[in-house]
């Protein structure tokens, strides 16, 4: 196995690409009682249109998520129950770009890993179980419709993007999931769930060789192909509309502001831009910025205010959100502050101290097993290693930040989503 030592962060990463194309990444952690495995497919809510044998195929919104729910069914019963009765806590999620199945446990890691790899690679769907799941997912969708934070996000995506599937909810709608049949699921499983399109990450007090051995024994021998996908016509840098509003039972208006950025091809450059963009957001409007202090003391934001960068297949945007009596004013203040920094330059001492803070934050993020594995999987699919983050952070210059702030927070690129309270 390939062994890379990241001395600065005190981690060693073992990785190997098996004969069938599956990449296995193991980060041993001595002394931990918990082990964690994360098995991910490069297939998410945005992967709705893809090429198969030269034909383009369109699938309804919500298939990746539906598939994730149904994968736990096995011919012999239910993998969720099997893993649970074996002492593991299993779960799964579907994001815009990936579907991941994971568990943590304190014993029987190898047995549990065996179960995880088997149920994800062997589909078993019946008409009856798919019909029943439609009811369960419809409930989940309805619960999402009652959640103001989901509505404020989904509306922002609708306002920002004209073509990319990110504009639709990952879970789909009650109508779109009604179109899903066992055949749809078998078909999409066949297209995406190949070893070459997947990654296995594991961490805990583990033997890396053993993890690979189990993967070799359980998974299919043929690597399969990586399907070509289409995320819709190229997006302009302008939003579909600049403001979108909804009314719900909320205590205070919720808002989320988004600013469209040019996507960057996968690889280290992409990861660098994400880290750099995060740092730029901290400098512009994070808790130690003059803007934050002013908005906070004027009662325009509270401690639930957040900002940062967010990416998905085919796009990336800068965002800020929270609760505010006057979201329009917060938006204007952010634009003005970005203009001020563009004109007068970045505060160097703030930049230096934020860099220090980012380094501390980065180190600490490695303590979370789920964070580490998620980052490793995403890094694998997008061509970078997240454990290089410390070096990349150190290499960020004031000029990088200055240039980012100058271009990223322009009013014409932005959309504002607001959920107001029903009176």
């Amino acid at each position: 196995m390939k062994r890379i030592e990241y001395g600065k962060i005190g981690e060693t990463v073992y990785s190997e690409t098996l004969e069938n194309g599956l990449c296995c990444i193991v980060v041993p952690k001595k002394g931990f009682s918990k082990s964690y495995a994360f098995f991910a497919v490069n297939y998410g809510g945005c992967d709705r249109r893809f090429a198969l044998d030269g034909y383009w195929i369109d699938t309804p919104a919500g298939v990746a998520h539906f598939l994730e729910h149904k994968m736990f069914d096995t011919e012999g019963g239910n993998a969720l129950a099997l893993l649970s009765s074996n002492g593991a806590s299993p779960n799964a999620f579907t994001s815009s770009g990936i579907t991941a199945y994971h568990f943590e446990c304190t014993e029987n890691f190898e047995d549990n890993l065996n179960v995880l790899l088997s149920f994800v690679s062997v589909p078993y769907f019946t008409k009856e179980s798919v019909d029943k799941e439609q009811g369960i997912i419809a409930q989940e969708i309805k619960m999402g419709e009652d959640s103001p934070s989901r509505v404020v996000y989904q509306n922002l995506m609708k306002a920002l993007y004209a073509n990319n599937p990110i504009k639709d909810s990952i879970a789909g709608t009650v109508e779109s999931i009604a179109e899903i049949t066992p055949e749809t699921l078998y078909h999409c499983h066949k297209v995406f769930y190949h070893p070459v399109n997947m990654v296995l990450c594991a961490t805990g007090d583990l033997n890396p060789e053993k993890v690979c051995e189990i993967a070799r024994a359980v998974l299919p021998e043929s690597p399969g192909e990586i399907a070509q996908r289409d995320y819709g016509a190229e997006e302009s840098m302008l939003p579909v509309k600049s403001i979108i509003e909804a009314q719900m039972s909320v205590s205070a208006p919720l808002f989320m502001l988004g600013s469209k950025l040019e996507p960057i091809a996968d690889g280290d450059r992409h990861y660098f831009r994400m880290l750099m963009g995060e740092l730029a957001c901290m400098l512009l409007m994070g808790p130690s910025s003059p803007l934050y202090a002013r908005l906070y003391s004027e009662g325009l934001i509270n401690n639930r205010f957040y900002s940062g960068l967010s990416d998905f297949p085919g796009g990336v945007f800068a965002t800020a959100g929270g609760e505010s009596k006057n979201p329009e004013k917060v938006k204007d203040e952010i634009i003005n502050e970005a203009e001020r920094i563009s004109r007068f330059g970045v505060d160097i001492s703030l930049f230096n101290s934020l860099k220090k803070a980012s380094i501390g934050g980065f180190l600490r993020s490695l303590d979370s097993m789920d964070n580490s594995c998620y980052a490793l999987a995403e890094g694998h699919f997008r061509g970078y290693s997240p454990f290089n983050g410390l070096e990349l952070l150190e290499s960020i210059s004031v000029e990088d930040i200055q240039a980012f702030i100058e271009s990223a927070f322009k009013s014409e690129r932005m959309a504002l989503s607001i959920v107001k309270s029903k009176t």
Partner: protein, 429 residues
């Protein structure tokens, strides 16, 4: 306690230390313990947020944030928790371990030092906590209390507790109420701050690479000006062993999914509580994915999108939370109660018992890998005056039998049923 050391380091101040080199993050919490009450809950909740706005040395958010950046992005965040009817308010501090920072060897001391300054040396004007900080944090607290409405699952549980324990301190939310918050003045808050600083029992917790004596030295230095007066006598949780007639309560809001929440009391089993048996019973009933509520009510009958139970062990209360279609109210309620009856009559398979025990033990062991979970566990132990650690508790769970779980189920009684449904116009659609 095998893996933790707990000692009294100042009058009425205990420090619990878990020394481990598993983490790159150091964790420190300081908690002032007070009796939960409608009168004081909002004041206790407000104090850490006001103090966090600035201390004498760093009098505003910007300078304080800059100091935290210099400490490698240390976070010092206000925290308000309840353990039964004890309200614990203070700060949680997390910071990078200096082991991974070349040239740094006293980050722990500086970080605990700053935590101490924020708690003990606030920025004041004329001897009072600054009015503008008090007023803006009052508004934030009101917003936060109101925001429980945003998540309907949480909201239904908050309402259930309020209705079920209307006559008990347990019915008071950890943040108090908007009405009580609005009445607070800077003078009142300053007086209350001084009082609790002097009289409250204080629990501190540390988890990281440092050993007990290094942490103790750092704390004694940072908290040397902590005033210590007469301790508050007799704070604790009142446990009610019986249920009266079942209370039913229905409310309407603009929602598309209904929430059915049930409040139970654990009954006479709380007279000499066997926490291991209680925890296993809960895992069998609704606390795990192998539970009866999950497998039967959710999976087999598809009555709910989610259905689960949780125990507040200090108060001896069990809450069931479920998301249902509006017209499934009676069916779901009957089925949840039928599952409890099944346990009472001994209908538990060996597989169910083993699944539940494994689930509990895994959760306990996984807690050992999380500083925050360890903090919460040891704070709970300190409040109850219990001295067993997580590993010892896992060993107790191992010994629980079907009969032990049935005995808990027999003692449980239903107190309150709360139903959150949609508005009528919504229901017409």
């Amino acid at each position: 306690m095998k893996n933790a050391v707990r000692k009294t380091i100042m009058p009425n101040v205990e420090l619990t230390c878990v020394t481990t080199d598993k983490f790159k993050t150091g964790y420190f919490s300081v908690n002032l313990l007070n009796q939960l009450s409608a009168k004081d809950a909002s004041k206790n909740a407000l104090i850490p947020s006001v103090l966090r706005r600035g201390c004498a040395k760093y009098p505003d958010m910007e300078s304080l944030a800059a100091a935290l950046n210099e400490l490698y992005g240390t976070t010092i965040e206000p925290v308000v928790r309840t353990k039964g009817e004890i309200q614990c308010s203070g700060f949680i501090t997390t910071f990078a371990d200096d082991k991974y920072l070349p040239g740094e060897n006293d980050l722990l001391e500086r970080v605990i030092g700053l935590t101490g300054e924020i708690l003990l040396a606030p920025v004041t004007r004329g001897g009072l906590l600054q009015a503008d900080y008090v007023n803006s944090e009052k508004e934030n607290l009101c917003d936060q209390i109101r925001s429980s409405l945003n998540d309907k699952r949480t909201y239904s549980l908050v309402r259930l507790k309020e209705i079920m324990c209307a006559e008990e301190a347990f019915g008071v939310d950890r943040l108090g109420t908007v009405a009580a918050t609005e009445k607070i003045t800077p003078i009142m808050l300053t007086k209350h701050y001084k009082k609790i600083l002097e009289n409250s029992e204080i629990q501190m917790f540390y988890c990281g690479t440092a050993d007990f004596s290094r942490v103790e030295t750092a704390v004694l230095h940072a908290f040397s000006i902590l005033p210590r007066g007469e301790a508050d006598a007799g704070i604790g949780t009142q446990i009610r062993l019986d249920c009266g007639e079942v209370k039913y309560h229905t409310e309407s809001l603009d929602v598309t999914q209904g929430k059915l929440a049930l409040g139970f009391r654990l009954g006479e089993t709380m007279y000499t509580p066997d926490y291991a048996a209680i925890t296993v019973f809960n895992a069998i009933f609704g606390g795990s994915v192998t539970s009866k509520l999950f497998l039967n009510v959710r999976e087999k009958l598809s009555l709910c999108y989610f259905a689960s139970s949780s125990i507040e062990k200090h108060k001896g209360v069990m809450l069931v939370s479920s998301g249902i279609e509006f017209d499934k109210y009676q069916e779901a309620l009957d089925e949840i109660l039928a599952q409890l009856s099944a346990i009472r009559s001994g209908d538990i398979t060996g597989q169910e018992l083993e699944g539940a025990k494994k689930y509990v033990i895994t959760t306990l062991k996984a807690s050992m890998d999380s500083a925050m979970a360890l903090d919460s566990f040891y704070l709970g132990q300190a409040v109850e005056g219990l001295d067993f650690g997580l590993e010892e508790f896992a060993a107790f769970v191992e010994r629980i039998s079907i009969e032990d779980a049935v005995a808990v189920a027999k003692s449980v009684c239903l107190d309150t049923v709360y139903f959150l449904k949609g508005n009528q116009e919504e229901a017409m659609k």
